[in-house]
């Protein structure tokens, strides 16, 4: 299982801060998350960055069971 961390408004939309999914790429993890959390999460995800193990990456990056995918909505900044 790959860990998915949901931060700030993404946590609020998903209703959980941390979850686990099965998938071969980040895209597959996110599709499974959309199916589980619904429309509010989909809207937040559309404007969010997605990191793999603390670093930005592309959404077709492969993931394994030790990996951590993080959904980061825009931050509040100044």
């Amino acid at each position: 299982m790959t860990t998915l961390l949901l931060l700030g408004p993404a946590r609020e939309a998903a209703g959980v801060a941390r979850d686990e999914f099965v998938g071969a790429t980040i895209d597959e993890i996110l599709d499974a998350a959309i199916a589980r959390y619904g429309e509010a999460f989909t809207r937040v995800l559309a404007v969010s960055q997605v990191w793999l193990n603390g670093e930005a990456t592309s959404r077709d990056a492969p993931v394994g069971p030790q990996d951590e995918v993080v959904v980061l909505p825009p931050i509040s900044g100044g």
Binding site: L7, G8, P9, V47, P73, I75, S76, G77
Partner: protein, 154 residues
């Protein structure tokens, strides 16, 4: 949570920040200039309400790694720096409390000012941190959405 090295101290903390104590920690006999920045909640809001508190949330391990990247980048740009302190509080922060404290010491004040300003600017743009504005009877995410960038790109 804290990661203290000889001259670097970054932390994401649920406890009140004591800017005076952090400033004293950054004083060293070789560094005559200490610049401290404190960010505190303002009553004025991005929504139409008087703010009474801000609530911050993040993932501490991720946020501390990004704080450390800010301090590393400041050292790369100003090699003469002494101590660097970057602390951000999480949870509810009341008016007059500090949400964030940056302290930089240096032999001379120009580098201390420049680096402290870089650190708070870079922190605000490169550290994952979400803020809810809390007023009497409600709350909402602060509406200032920015994409997270890397400290070294600033």
């Amino acid at each position: 949570m804290a990661a203290e090295r000889a001259l670097d101290w970054v932390a994401i903390s649920p406890d009140p920040l004591d800017a005076g104590a952090l400033e004293r920690w950054a004083r060293r006999p070789a560094y005559g200039a200490v610049v401290t920045f404190c960010g505190t909640p303002r009553t004025s809001s991005t929504h139409d309400h008087d703010v009474v508190a801000l609530e911050y949330e993040t993932e501490p391990t991720l946020a501390e790694a990004r704080l450390r990247a800010v301090s590393d980048e400041a050292r790369r740009r100003w090699p003469e720096l002494g101590a660097i302190v970057l602390h951000h509080r999480v949870g509810s922060v009341a008016l007059l409390e500090s949400a964030v404290v940056v302290v930089v010491s240096s032999p001379h004040r120009d580098a201390a000012f420049d680096a402290a300003r870089f650190c708070i600017d870079a922190l605000k743009r490169s550290v994952p941190m979400w803020k809810r504005e809390v007023w009497v009877g409600g709350s909402a995410w602060s509406e200032e959405g920015q994409t997270i960038v890397s400290a070294r790109d600033l």
